[in-house]
Symmetry: C2
Subunit: 339 residues, 2 copies
């Protein structure tokens, strides 16, 4: 690899001049600029970003911590950050964190070793306290999909409770009364919040959900199938189900159909997330859109801002919460028994 010294020597100037040319520094003669650029071209010189980062003490890297990349949801998140990174001439350093506190800690540490100052992190396992102290250490750290009151101006999150409410109101509008819910035992608070919002709204409308019509399962297609099976086996009547996520919803629908129920003819189903498959499944899934890419973009931009005006690290007064949006497709219909 050629270095700045090689360029200087061959061009017959000092390394200081070469450095100025590289950085469009002030006060360089056109002649020098031309000569240096020519030499750089000829010998195929590429400045060493590590050396640069070392001396300038700044990184043009934006770090992303997510559990894994193979899940389309997290891929969208990373993609959103990437777009903002590109707009700011930065690059994505990815740190996959798995599902444990220890590995989340390891993932963020790798980023810190690289002196990465801008970070968008999806953390579900690290305790609040640790994240709060981390946030002090790294001004450009933004949490996505997590709300911690003490550092809420560094958090971008979805209002899961509101999502549950929206689903409930829609079912009520459609005249459904026997309403079920498939939630999850996934070790994060999201399912609980969604279910709470849902149940609260039904209760307020004077039609509280029957606890026996709430069932829990793993947050994937198989889980959805098993849950639907249990709902059917219970013998209780129901004409609508609010499901924790799209994959489970699709699983539930296939089990319902296998058992002679038509969707949405006999049962209406609402999913959550609006991942790609929601648009391709049959019937196409009515679901709550989770604007993750948009959220990721805002998170990245916020992180960049925090790094730039460290002074104004004061709470951006506004709350960074997003609302899911109901996308009406084909898996819901008004309750025929009441039409």
């Amino acid at each position: 690899m050629t270095t700045i010294k090689d360029v200087a020597r061959i061009a017959g100037v000092s390394i200081a001049s070469v450095s100025r040319v590289i950085n469009n520094g002030p006060k360089v003669s056109q002649a020098t600029i031309k000569k240096v650029n020519q030499v750089m071209q000829e010998i195929g010189y590429t400045p060493n970003a590590n050396a640069r980062a070392l001396v300038t003490r700044k990184s043009i890297t934006i770090g992303v911590v997510i559990p894994e990349l193979s899940d389309p949801f997290f891929a969208s998140l990373a993609s959103g950050v990437d777009k903002v990174a590109r707009d700011n001439a930065m690059q994505l350093l990815l740190s996959t964190a798995g599902q444990s506190a220890a590995s989340e800690r390891a993932a963020i540490n790798l980023l810190l070793e690289r002196r990465c100052q801008t970070i968008v992190m999806h953390s579900k396992k690290l305790p609040d306290s640790e994240l709060i102290s981390l946030s002090k250490q790294v001004p450009g750290l933004v949490l996505i999909n997590r709300y911690i009151a003490a550092i809420k101006h560094k958090c971008i999150w979805l209002d899961n409770t509101a999502g549950g409410k929206i689903a409930a109101r829609y079912f009520l509008t459609l005249q459904h009364h026997n309403i079920a819910c498939i939630s999850s035992k996934y070790q994060i608070e999201d399912p609980t919040l969604r279910l709470n919002g849902f149940a609260t709204t039904l209760a307020e409308a004077g039609a509280p959900i029957d606890p026996q019509l709430i069932t829990y399962a793993l947050p994937d297609q198989q889980g959805g199938e098993a849950a639907a099976q249990r709902l059917i086996a219970s013998g209780l009547p129901f004409s609508a189900i609010f499901v924790y996520n799209d994959a489970m919803a699709i699983g539930a629908i296939s089990t319902l159909e296998d058992n002679g129920y038509s969707v949405p003819g006999d049962v209406s189903v609402i999913g959550f997330d609006d991942v790609l498959i929601a648009r391709y499944s049959r019937p196409r899934l009515t679901t709550l859109h989770y604007p993750i890419e948009e959220m990721a973009q805002q998170a990245a931009q916020l992180a960049i801002n925090c790094v730039n005006d460290e002074a104004i690290t004061a709470p951006h007064s506004d709350s960074h919460s997003y609302l899911p949006r109901l996308v009406k497709r084909e898996s819901t219909r008004s309750n025929s028994r009441h039409v």
Copy 2:
């Protein structure tokens, strides 16, 4: 940020000793090790990876160049590389390259500036010549989804032609005779190869494809819909379609059904890629599985190997080609008119 000097000063030893402790260097007394580790813990010292990379001249980063992250196909590719990276205690540096030669060039350059030695690149726009010279400059560069004879030992690619042949043979087995093909105008060779393999096999079987039953469209769902529309409008009979990719296949199926054709009742459809939606669409799609994550893993491993034993950069004699695998689902059936 604290530095190695701080640690040395506080621990009362030289920075050389601290360095030895950090790197499990030889010949350090237990006492020193203990003391240094303790101090590092206390002051929360994190070694600077940039400084390290600078002096050791080696990078623990594995670079990935892909057009974009929001496409699940490329997300899977990146995910495969990430898994190998983790197994080797390395990290993913992502460089999205868009769809032009210039931006592909820019993307790889960013990686080179960081002195990234291990790179998995998906390049469709850069000319062979440029890639070949790049390959000389960067021993750890591996090309994925591209075959260049001169550096074939650095290429991992899918045998698209074989995929076309497999699809053709399957249709023949199912007794189809009026066979159509929806290909693409996408500016890469993949569609051409797939179509060639397909057409060749049919011709060899004495049932050459009718050129009028070959149509081209953009490689997305809308393209598939438009193409199917044209096929129907042609008035020509057909009972099977080989489609360039899954998204187009799904688009084609919906248009067929909208026009009163049943799939697979009246028309059988084979897609390509086996992306997630192929399993969720109705009918579930028969398609050719593209083992991209597996390929990406091998590419990453190959790249790492090339960096390690630079000596053995000699052609790994074996050819790194992968075969797509037919996944039979519900969109194909034997031709009823001949049963």
